[in-house]
Symmetry: C2
DNA sequence: AAAAAAGTTGCCAGCGGTGGCAATTTTTTT
DNA sequence: AAAAAAATTGCCACCGCTGGCAACTTTTTT
């Protein structure tokens, strides 16, 4: 239990005022070369590390970033978190993780209180919480930096990094259509999330370009879990004129579809094509491996964090210039193939 | 951009001294009922939230917990994090996540600096970092609360929550033996991690109780990733006298084995039994679903966090009484079955 | 009813830094 | 070489809160 050394100790031993030590620590320019070296030497000898709380109190900076989310997929969160932490550790920030409930009435208050309480320098908000415009404007009004990760294209570059899920879903549609599928099903995510509706609309729009549309019966709503993927698949696959291709809103549900197909003896991809969205770890682990849309989650996290730290450090212009949009891409694996027309003839 | 209200505002408006407001906030006993209500009313009206930095500076408490880890499995980390956060949010703590490199020489310094810099009230250390005795003693010496999550049984209840992986692996051994398997293979994790050696030894010991031993050729070392699971499986399954059962150190590698078996046309579980360790999400998603050992990760995180907060709050006796050991359990699913003796006759 | 005990409340000094400005030293200018 | 300018350094107040102790009330005891 070693007594912590303070800035006063350093100042005394180095024979300077603590103000000067403070300058050295903060890399202030107006410190004489020799003085700086002397102080740095003492700092190292004492293994002195400034007290973040005191520093924060005096300068209203905490070097703490917050990550706000609501019950995300484990793999998605992990990707984001790694990306954020990568930038944080490089730039000397720490990350405070903060789950909350998107649906809760007190969401805005919870988040604002979290920021105030911990005196965060800024927050990164993940979907679906990032879809709350109430929260977004509260954050904007609060004046503290924030960045949202979102799947919904917006006209602004500020405070947001988006992936164009709509376009990606349309690409999947094109891919399906070109494989000759006509009887296609879609398992959506919760319709209360914009990311879900974006993907669905993108997919439908994409199909319509090829003159294909999805029968109402073939659109089911899951909640992005493996289990609901199973439920929806059971319903979709029970009939006689079952679809030849199923696109699920995410990989978890697509994995559920594979499971059901397997247990029903339906061959994938020969009799049924299945695709997911995300390209998380699961997609390559399951059998057959999943055709899916790769979302550059890590990269989004990197961009968001960079953008945020820049705006914290007053480089608002630079922050606005950090790319705000990434394009997900189609990854073709084993779970999709040409339509066999086994059920339907033209 | 609303001006933040301070304790002084509350004091002034409520017509009391700020010391009294402070008492109300901290739930101190000696505050008159009427005074307390009055102050609480003002606090609510002003939406006042105490400044954590100032509070920490004055009381040397930060209400910040740290989570230290090195490149863990995404699913494992997510489980732990959820568990920890559950307790944190109930008890008013925030969580700062901090990746580091177990192998690094500066590990101890990194961690100590992290704690000092952020003035953490305590840290939770995950495997494999938790296996570093150097770090453990440095933490002990530093005097700040910490709890390790580990797979290695220790004689102490202090500062640690363990899962008895050795016993669990032995149970898997018994299960395999009772299914009649004799030609058994094991894919271990990195031997530099104690958790890996514990599981391997437990498995071998368990088998030896049934007079079964593993051929040297049938012990391979992976690094707990899906990819090395595939590599090891390829090597194990290529010969003519291939094993009838494979136990992998974790689910990721077991999933790799399933993948290889599938591509080689080896039926699981008819021709080959496969088991993993962890029972994470993957285990139930893959086909066939994996027999595995369920580690009560969430519960360990709960216990660890409770234990730590108790010792932060000076309840050292109570902290020592929080359970320090959990027992993983066998979960039988589709990937294991009786030995078909197709390759080897007795 | 006075004294003692118990319960409340307020005052003031830090906690360990940073910011503004003044003071000092060094460099440049005339 | 003196004056002006620039660079360096130090002093002190303050960030917002809590801890210790004193002061003031109220209740209980004798």
């Amino acid at each position: 239990m070693h007594k912590q050394s303070t800035i006063n100790d350093v100042a005394r031993i180095a024979g300077v005022s603590k103000r000067t030590v403070s300058r050295v620590i903060n890399g202030s320019l107006s410190v004489g070369e020799s003085t700086r070296l002397k102080v740095e030497k003492v700092i190292n000898e004492l293994k002195y590390a400034p007290n973040a709380q005191a520093r924060g109190l005096a300068s209203s900076r905490s070097y703490l970033l917050g990550l706000i989310y609501d019950n995300p997929d484990a793999l998605y969160l992990d990707d984001v978190q790694r990306g954020v932490l990568e930038v944080c550790s490089t730039l000397g920030y720490e990350l405070v993780v903060h789950p909350c409930r998107y649906q809760s009435e007190s969401l805005v208050n919870d988040c604002l209180r979290f920021m105030r309480r911990s005196k965060l320098d800024g927050v990164i908000v993940l979907p679906p919480v990032s879809e709350s415009e109430t929260l977004a404007s509260a954050l904007k009004e609060s004046g503290s930096p924030y960045v949202r990760l979102s799947s919904v294209a917006l006209d602004t570059q500020e405070h947001i990094v988006v992936s164009d899920d709509r376009a990606a879903a349309a690409e999947m549609a094109r891919y399906f259509a070109q494989l000759g599928h006509k009887n296609i099903a879609f398992i959506s995510g919760p319709q209360r999330y914009k990311s879900s509706t974006e993907r669905m609309e993108g997919f439908q729009l994409g199909l319509s370009a090829y003159g294909v549309s999805i029968a109402a019966d073939n659109i089911l709503e899951g909640n992005n879990t493996f289990e609901t993927g199973i439920e929806c698949a059971k319903q979709l696959l029970r009939g006689t004129s079952r679809p030849t291709a199923i696109f699920a809103n995410n990989d978890q549900m697509a994995a559920g579809v594979l499971k059901v197909a397997y247990s029903m003896g339906i061959k994938v991809p020969d009799e049924l094509s299945v695709a997911g969205f995300d390209d998380n770890m699961l997609a390559s682990r399951v059998t057959p491996s999943l055709t899916t849309i790769r979302r550059p989650v890590r990269q989004m996290a990197l961009l968001a964090t960079t953008k945020m730290i820049m705006s914290i450090e007053q480089n608002h212009k630079a922050a606005a210039n950090v790319a705000a949009k990434v394009a997900p891409t189609l990854v073709v694996r084993e779970s999709t193939g040409p339509c066999s027309h086994s059920d339907i003839t033209e």
